[in-house]
């Protein structure tokens, strides 16, 4: 599958929502934890060797599962391959919790659900659709019940 790597690399250089040096392993046989610079930008998680400007890799954070594992450790796996886990060992339990929370909220799908939720709550409270003023109330992605087919 082709993709615009150049733009993705550019995205990796943007200000991050969250970034830290974390030990990480990939779901490959014999993979060990290695210190990486891990950077969350929109719905992508980039990981770098700590002394390099270009990331080794990127994970699109859609349809993934963030799991708190044992002490200081969390993992990311994807819905179609739940056994393949990217593991992250944080410095502290607190840091681990922060990352878990941040990553759970990091997908476009999550934003979409939040939007639908707030829209609905505002509508219930005020009787008005808050998206009307923006002229986007008809867009498919903001419809309640349009998803989960």
């Amino acid at each position: 599958m082709r993709y615009n790597e150049r733009e993705l690399l550019s995205l990796a250089r943007q200000p991050a929502e969250k970034a830290a040096e974390i030990r990480m392993s990939v779901p490959k046989k014999g993979s060990v934890l290695k210190k990486r610079l891990v950077k969350l930008v929109v719905n992508f998680l980039f990981y770098f060797r700590t002394d390099e400007a270009e990331p080794i890799g990127a994970l699109l954070l859609e349809h993934c599962k963030i799991t708190k594992e044992e002490d200081n450790v969390f993992s990311i796996s994807f819905i179609e391959e739940p056994e393949r886990k990217y593991c992250f060992e944080c410095a502290t339990e607190e840091q681990c919790q922060e990352w878990v929370e941040a990553l759970k909220r990091a997908s476009y799908e999550f934003l979409r659900r939040s939007l639908i939720f707030y829209r609905n709550e505002i509508q219930k409270m005020t009787g008005k659709d808050p998206l009307e003023q923006y002229g986007i109330s008809e867009e498919a992605r903001f419809q309640l019940g349009a998803h989960r087919q």
Partner: protein, 271 residues
């Protein structure tokens, strides 16, 4: 750079609904090794927009996308191509290629341009934050109503307001909101009789598009990508952003208190 391509391809083809889809002709970009053009040609592809990702497939029924355009930071413009109904997706980067796409007609072109311009994560986040604020304000003014002095005429009005089905204790809880694994019970969300009347038309404008992401000033070549550089053009996720199960509980409590008070007043008779 590696990408979790298998998962990305799965996301492209799974049954989560697309934000927009349709056939477009995509201009084939050729390398100009020689002075003269080889002429432009186009390939018809099936395009699917999901979030900030634009996938394209050889055929509508294809099991896997042939390509992906990550749309974050792009602009979408109408295009001066020889083709009618052409538009282009461009990026900030000076050397970056543009994706020139051709729709079947005016309406299709406009729909695509509209959908793509608002496809970024940044935009979505902007709208969500705006609504978060509005909900907070709606709750605050509800609380203010409660505190203001009551008169018999206005109390009946308020009673009607409080008996609005909107103020039922919030039953629908998004339990685990993991990316794609949501156990959200969207069936319970629609209040009885809530209708999303759309008064579109007039001078409504969408929220302004957030400024395009530009390379952080500090990312000089050779230095490893730094951590949280001060965002010049946009702020990272605010630390005050509460996950909305907490928000949910907070509002739920407010409303439970209001209901109780209202019920007590009912028993006493109107003050």
């Amino acid at each position: 750079m590696k990408l979790n391509e298998r998962s990305v391809a799965h996301y492209a083809t799974c049954d989560s609904p697309a934000d927009h889809a349709g056939f477009l002709r995509k201009r084939v970009e050729r390398h100009h090794h020689h002075a003269h053009h080889h002429g432009t040609s186009y390939q018809r592809r099936w395009f699917v927009l999901k979030g900030n990702l634009l996938f394209y497939f050889e055929e509508r029924e294809s099991r896997e996308p042939v390509g992906l355009v990550v749309l974050e930071g792009c602009t979408v413009e109408l295009c001066e191509a020889a083709e009618e109904f052409a538009f282009a997706i461009r990026f900030d980067d000076a050397g970056a290629r543009a994706y020139v796409l051709v729709a079947d007609g005016q309406a299709a072109m406009e729909a695509w341009v509209k959908a793509l311009s608002r496809a970024s994560f940044d935009y979505m986040r902007l709208v969500v934050r705006e609504l978060e604020k509005q909900l907070e304000e709606a709750c605050k003014s509800l609380a203010a109503c409660r505190k203001s002095p009551r008169r018999s005429s206005s109390s009946s009005g308020r009673k009607r307001h409080l008996s609005n089905p909107a103020l039922q204790p919030l039953q629908e809880k998004p339990t685990t909101l993991e990316n794609g694994y949501s156990t959200w019970n969207s069936g319970g969300c629609v209040a009885g009789g809530a209708s999303y009347t759309d008064h579109e038309g007039g001078q409504t404008k969408p929220p302004p598009l957030p400024p395009r992401r530009r390379s952080a000033a500090g990312s000089a070549t050779g230095s490893p990508a730094p951590g949280l550089s001060p965002a010049l053009l946009e702020s990272p996720v605010s630390p005050e952003t509460i996950c909305f199960s907490k928000l949910h509980n907070w509002y739920g409590q407010e409303i439970a208190v209001l209901r109780r008070e209202w019920q007590e007043r009912q028993k006493r008779g109107h003050p």
